[in-house]
Subunit: 394 residues, 2 copies
């Protein structure tokens, strides 16, 4: 009995645990408080519609007649339908049966990669660590595509010429860079996937942050149904980081040799997952109701305004950055080159915590992420501190 | 890109999906209703203490100050502590940091097997399908140990002589057979594991159903801390099948070559899981409060009485069976030998649905499971129907 080899290939410590450890050590040594724009956790509570739905569901769960036991592994019909309807409103046809409810896009993403025999997994980086970690843990061969100032942190498939049968992760709007593919950019990836028998795993966790005219789902691109799976999340859209709810869309027509990819996913979930809590699914349904969506919109717009407030400071100081327009993240260059050193410097001079870009992949070295999931007051305070300290930090 | 080979080795359809399909087809053809003692889902609602905790947690989640975002991957301290205290009351010393909260023992069990390089995984069968399915999906070599009338469906390690470094699943009280190892039986397994450098994965989901004097945790056996991981669940103990909460105990001292097994599990969860919903964790904590436990006890005792009522009928008709004393399941021999044929026969003659024993492993062929997770009224009605129909069914 030996540890799975994948563990040898993983980085020593999980990014956010390391951020937490350095933060705790600093506070222990220096006391006081820090403005934490590090972990991408939401700042505002659940939408009132979701709170009311949880209370109503709790009452059902305590009632002899209305009580619900094991949920269907793929999610309750009421939620699958509601999600499918949200796609329909965006002009995209997805059937209820193509939607699978999960307990978080991180779990879904990790589980989905186990459907394949070890293969080449394309990961444009810097990016959210789960794609790489899960690929390594199940023996895939990661193929990192570098994001850079030159390509605006939006790599194209050009570097993959001659390759076939790839699994390709795309996250747009991107975490951590906030960069987002436009329709033409996504269409280029879809064309490449169709031409090469590849599969796109599209992480749409930040879709609601994308500005006007930007694709909110990969299925808005012609042909995507034939080559793309989409992961959605209630975490950032409805403040569900503490609730845990997500969905995966697996179009019916995607085949893996002679099998439906959808059937494989269904089989995996039936074998190794027992569905999402009823109360959580009701809360998610409520967040997608017209009233719930209005409540969520107010919060998302607040985060986006924070992003502009902070972005303005970097613009003023002439620091290269992305991410204000289509995301809750600000991604900027820290010219002295060492992301973790900059992390420490920023914490010491401004008492502001962010996330070192290198934690999201080698091409993130020399860059830094600030999360705009905070209140307008804190965003303004952080902006003021950065305004006065940036020159000495840079 | 090809489908993971594990899928080729899995049975065609997941057991409970097949049960559901046959039931639906029967009702479509014949109309009326069925008594469903098939899936092991609970019949009674959540304990009132948990309902109140969900409502209180929902209010917190809607509040600007008390709102909680991402939960710690291993669970909130309040719940880890509460679980550790429950062990302490049972005379077993487990520290908070050895307890990891999950969204269900099925997910935990499947995830835990991915920690190891492909190896021999011992699965006494018949047993809950997740051990075999997850072993096959991640490339382990299953080594089935046959349960039988002769060994009372409690296989011993005798058949494993000469083997080393095994991963060994034990589920006691067992699902589906209801058979339970006593202290001496578990001690034999622990001794074997220590002697051979093997690891026991102990599924204690039905621990609270075990009668007086029976072990409620593997850690009540000397030496178990050195060789056993335990999986606990709120599903059957507190009616949480629809809520999704579980825990895994990984003792600090277990090493896998030079690494702590606990550190591997922590790394896996940090990389591929985002923790359990705050409201669910509060509900689980409330179920373990003194009042919550009293509420749960009433329900468990009801299920155990159902088990006796049904068991009595099988005794009366001289049908070989196990499972009344220590579990919510009744496991009996259906002499004509074909479990699925008996399933259909029972459904047609009694309108009672159960689970074919063969669905839990090859040694289950010729046996049948009835779940006693139902109301006393339904249990009595099922008993009456079986009493009159058993002679013609057998």
């Amino acid at each position: 009995m030996r540890a799975a080899q994948g563990f040898d290939k993983l980085g020593k410590s999980y990014l956010f645990s390391e951020v937490r450890a350095r933060k705790d050590a600093f506070l222990k040594e220096n006391g006081g408080t820090l403005i934490d724009l590090g972990v991408g956790d939401v700042a505002f509570p659940l939408p009132p519609s979701s709170v009311a739905a949880i209370v109503a569901a709790a009452e059902e769960m305590g009632d002899n007649v209305r009580f619900r036991g094991y949920p269907p592994e793929g999610g309750y019909d009421f939620l699958r339908q509601t999600i499918a309807e949200a796609y329909a409103e965006a002009g995209v046809k997805i059937s209820d049966g193509e939607v699978f409810v999960g307990d978080g896009a991180k779990s879904d993403a990790a589980a989905f990669t186990t459907l394949f025999e070890p293969c080449e997994v394309v990961i444009p980086e810097p990016v959210y660590p789960v794609y790489l970690d899960s690929a390594l843990l199940c023996g895939h061969r990661p193929l990192l595509l570098s994001g850079s100032k030159q390509n605006g942190f939006l790599p194209t498939p050009a570097a993959l010429k001659g390759k076939e049968g790839l699994v390709i992760w795309l996250c747009s709007p991107n975490n951590p860079t906030g960069a987002a593919y436009d329709g033409a950019g996504l269409a280029e990836w879809v064309r490449f996937a169709l031409d090469t028998g590849s599969l796109i795993l599209f992480d749409a966790a930040y879709a609601t942050f994308a500005g006007d005219g930007m694709p909110k789902t990969i299925y808005s691109v012609d042909g995507a149904r034939g080559c793309a799976v989409e992961f959605g999340s209630f975490s950032k859209f409805a403040g569900f980081t503490g609730m845990r709810c997500s969905w995966t869309v697996v179009p019916h027509e995607i085949m893996l040799e002679k099998r439906r990819l959808q059937a494989l996913w269904q089989r995996r979930q039936a074998a190794e997952f027992n569905g999402v809590s009823y109360v959580v699914q009701r809360a998610a349904q409520a967040a997608l109701s017209p009233q719930g969506r209005r409540e969520c919109r107010v919060v998302i717009d607040t985060y986006k305004r924070n992003s502009c407030v902070l972005g303005h400071i970097f613009q003023k100081h002439g620091v290269w950055h992305t991410g204000c327009e289509h995301s809750p993240y600000l991604w900027f260059e820290c010219p002295r080159g060492d992301s973790w050193a900059f992390f420490d410097r920023l914490m010491r001079t401004c008492r502001v915590v962010g996330t070192p870009g290198v934690g999201f992949g080698p091409s993130g070295e020399g860059f830094f992420r600030l999360s705009c999931f905070t209140t307008p007051e804190i965003a303004r305070e952080a902006a003021a501190r950065l305004d006065s300290a940036l020159p000495s930090c840079m």
